[in-house]
Amino acid sequence: MTTPVLSLRGLSTRFGSNWVHKGVDLDIPPGEVVSLVGGSGSGKTTLLRQMVGLLTPTEGEVRVFDEPLFAGSREAQRQRRRRFAMCFQGGALFSAFTVYENIAFPLREAGIATEAEIRELVALKLTMVELLPSHAALMPAELSGGMIKRVALARALALEPELLLLDEPTAGLDPTRSASFVALIRDLQQQLGLTVVLVTHDLDTLAALSSKVAVLAERRILAFDSLEAVMQVDHPFIQEFFLSERSARALARAQGA
């Protein structure tokens, strides 16, 4: 079996006296698009933050690219970090920078592309997320919620990551934009063998994009399998999430499309 890109081993999280996760195990093989679903407040964002090392789990270990997240020298860690990117739930754009500078920033820091190339790469990323060139000069405060999401995605894609973590990427996007987001991620995934972990409540996105679904409930990963297999699992949360009338309609729509 290929080594997983990302693996969580016996991961537990406690805030104060509140256990959010208890013994989460998850291995994400390369090239998969994994949707992480769970009720609101079930700790999806927290799990994502632990995957990128923003939060240290109370117990357990996170391995990225088959190494502990914090192993090796400073330079080794920097190289490792450059291989994955995260899109935050609220965008987390640099508010003092324009859209252009936000996307150009990681490229400049990497110091590989020339300034002229950076210009073109930024323009390219903007077209990829369907923003107009004229949006480049705007400040984050001047963007709509959906535009913030797309700029955040463009910034996350700037360094061509191999592993992309997305926290509710389609929340706040209109259906057409969600569809083109799905197309973009699928394209990237096919061309670059990108591995994607996305938190989503949007069943259309989930059904269209994910090769696997991980269900986070009762403080652990209840199921991790293909959508069809996960839907067979007999658990109240899963039944409610996938098999309610609304969900059934969305899933049918996605299968028909």
Binding site: V5, F94, S95, E117, R119, T127, L132, A137
Partner: protein, 370 residues
């Protein structure tokens, strides 16, 4: 990916150029310059991309530029890569506009803008005072709506919590001032005048100004930052939508709290500074505590105390108003937050010193024994 990175290469065979390996940002990190040169020097008419292991948009961009912005007529292009170049072609149609260059006209316009900005500040500041006065009048008949909780919370934050630091600073200033003056007075044999100098200097002048500087740095900046972050996170807008006046809930309690806390802090700090001065005088000049305490009220008329308290209240109101003025001007970005916080502290300290000079002139004939 789990597999190792393959070095990006550019092979030339029989007039056909074929890039090989990983043409990705990560893999190109240490080869970009070499490959840029090789691409620039290449004179092939045929291209073959089938030997590529991976191609990301940076690698694609390098090739696209080498091709002069269009696909070569004679090439082998695996299916998966076609969309990359389609995107690049689409991007060429819609380049990011360059920021306009800064010219002489812009400099002049900037200067004019700064001047107009100053007027805007004055206008906004007046508007703030006006709104506050109107809201205050509105509150007169409605004691239920008085922001008493906020007032008391602010009073605790800006007053009680500032006591240790203002005492420390006051005490040290008192000691230093007394020590330096004592050295001079000893030379003239005018030891006993230390009480006059310390009493008048600290109570009338140093106490209020010292406390103002401390409070402007400590509480003024905090008020600006708090209001600023509330603007950034749209909390101020949420209040407005609920029909709750920002001025009554946010500005008024701060102004009230500082106008009450400042005179008290002035009193406290001046007292501690005098104690410091007294201790230093005893050590340096052998002036007894009893003598110091007995002489103080005789050489410093009580009017000075009232001037100090009045100054404290006025400075407090000024600092709070300036802090709120700048806080409410914060635009939703971090740069604006930091600029406004700086401006708030600098402006309030400058303003306090200016107003102090006005006070000095206006009260020049009051409370100074001749």
């Amino acid at each position: 990916m789990a597999d190792a990175i393959r070095t990006p290469e550019l092979h030339l065979s029989e007039g056909c150029l074929s890039p090989a390996g990983d043409w990705t940002l990560l893999a190109l990190a240490s080869h970009a310059n070499r490959l840029r040169q090789e691409l620039a020097g290449a004179k092939a008419t045929r291209w073959d991309l089938s030997a590529l292991n991976r191609l990301d948009s940076f690698g694609a961009l390098l090739l696209w530029r080498a091709w002069g912005g269009r696909l070569p007529a004679d090439m082998v292009l695996p299916d998966g890569y076609a969309t990359q170049f389609e995107r690049l072609a689409a991007m060429d149609e819609a380049p990011v506009p360059r920021p306009p260059r800064v010219g002489v006209v812009d400099v002049v316009a900037g200067l004019g803008g700064a001047l107009l900005g100053l007027f805007a500040h004055l206008g906004d500041f007046l508007a703030l005072i006006g709104r506050l006065a109107l809201d205050g009048l509105h509150l007169l008949g409605r004691p239920r709506n008085w922001p008493l909780k906020e007032f008391s919370a602010n009073l605790y934050k800006v007053g009680v919590k500032a006591m240790p630091v203002s005492a420390l600073v006051g005490f040290l200033i008192g000691v230093v001032l007394s020590y330096l003056s004592a050295l001079q007075l000893k030379a003239f044999g005018a030891d006993i005048f230390i009480v006059n100098i310390l009493g008048l200097g600290i109570i009338r002048e140093l106490g209020p100004v010292l406390v103002s500087v401390l409070v402007a740095g400590r509480s003024g900046s905090a008020m600006t930052a708090q209001l600023g972050v509330m603007r950034v996170t749209e909390e101020v807008d949420a209040l407005t939508v609920m029909g709750i006046s920002n001025y009554i809930r946010l500005v008024l309690p701060k102004v009230m709290a500082l106008s009450v806390a400042m005179p008290l802090l002035v009193l406290w700090t001046s007292a501690v500074a005098l104690v410091g001065g007294m201790m230093s005088a005893e050590l340096q000049l052998g002036l007894s505590y009893g003598y110091f305490i007995e002489t103080l009220p005789k050489v410093v008329p009580a009017a000075n105390l009232f001037i100090a308290l009045g100054k404290g209240a006025v400075f407090g109101v000024l600092i709070a108003l300036v802090a709120c003025h700048f806080g409410l001007r914060v635009k939703p970005n971090t740069e604006s937050l930091s600029a406004n916080t700086t401006a708030s502290v600098v402006t309030s300290i400058t303003l306090v010193i200016l107003v102090d000079a006005v006070f000095a002139i206006a009260t020049r004939s009051i409370g100074v024994p001749l």
